[in-house]
Amino acid sequence: MIKCVVWDIDNTLLTGVYLESGADLPGADPELAGVLRELSGRGILSALASRNPPAAADYVQQLTGADFAAVECGWGSKADAIGRIAAGLGLATDAIAFVDDDMLERAEVGAALPDVLVLTPEDAAEAPGWPEFSPAVITAEARRRSQLYAERRRRQAAANEFGGGRDDFLRHAGTQITIAPAVPDDLPRLHELSVRTHQLNSAGEPVTQADLAGLLASPRDTVTTVRLADDFGDDGLVGAAIMTGNGGNRGPAARVPAPVLVVTVPLIMMSCRALGRGALDALLAWLCRSAAADGAAELRVPCLVTERNVPMRLALAAAGLRADAGSVAPDGRAIFARRLTGELPALPDWVTAP
């Protein structure tokens, strides 16, 4: 059972960023403020861990009327902050949940404290229906989501115990990455991914189901999906890429006959669940190899350059793609490209691909 929920402030309990708002301070997120009240009614404690000055915590306290059992404000790591909160309240870390909108804060806390239940704000909104937060009747969907987090906690704990490098752990965990052409049944999930992914999204723009259906039918474009599973659980469809210029989902017969020299990838997106599990690296390696096999000489990925999608840029760099330093367009995009000669990034043997 969870006994204390540690909340982030910016873009989590507040609808914006406290320090960037000047005199016009952001309001409380109404849904999460409701969760705070609901949990408090069940006797579950709340605490704050934020990079804001203490004044922000006072502001959140006034706004929500919540009684925070502990407040940690500062620039240190949130895992350390949670450790101090747990020690101060006399709780084991497996009785703590942590809610943050930032994928990297979640990853850091998950890695340092695998017993902590680490949640996105979206999941925190439904968490009162989960068994960890309530002995009451639980829906099947809530049970499934809660199970997904339990799988993640077990995976993280096993990874921490495991001595070797990442690839050794991926093999040890029975990781299966499946790359395959998209089919119409995938469209709702693909649309959802295009809306929900930010830090692992090259385009930064949602794609409608109608547009996706158009891409599936087009002889020039390919939509490719990535599925991820291991011995700890099955995450299903976690990512996708759109390729333009080589082929299309309708098979070789429908392909554009003339050889295409440049393959462009207008969108690469990946769920944060797949972070650190090799799925993005596998997708990029496959894109390089698939374009090269089709006779292309160069792969191009237009990528929005922001502070948030550093993980995407790192994966591009690791796959050998580079952008011209002066090439960032006024819309914030830069073209990351690589020649498809020489040694291409490797596809590990746990990847199944066409």
Partner: protein, 71 residues
Amino acid sequence: MLAQVTGRPELLGVPPDTPLFSAGAGLDSLAGTLLLRQVQRRYGVDVAAEDLNLDSLETLGTLAAFIAARI
């Protein structure tokens, strides 16, 4: 730092010309981003904002030089 973000203690004391990506230290996008965050916290250098291609992450040596030039 590198040993911590990759969870591989054997990386403590690797030579400065060890490649960080792929075959070298096996830095992936998660470990790489966590490393850049720790660099920002400890040295106040925002590598991601200044280095579009993240070429400074080629090896430990290039990253150290990039940081040293800015502090």
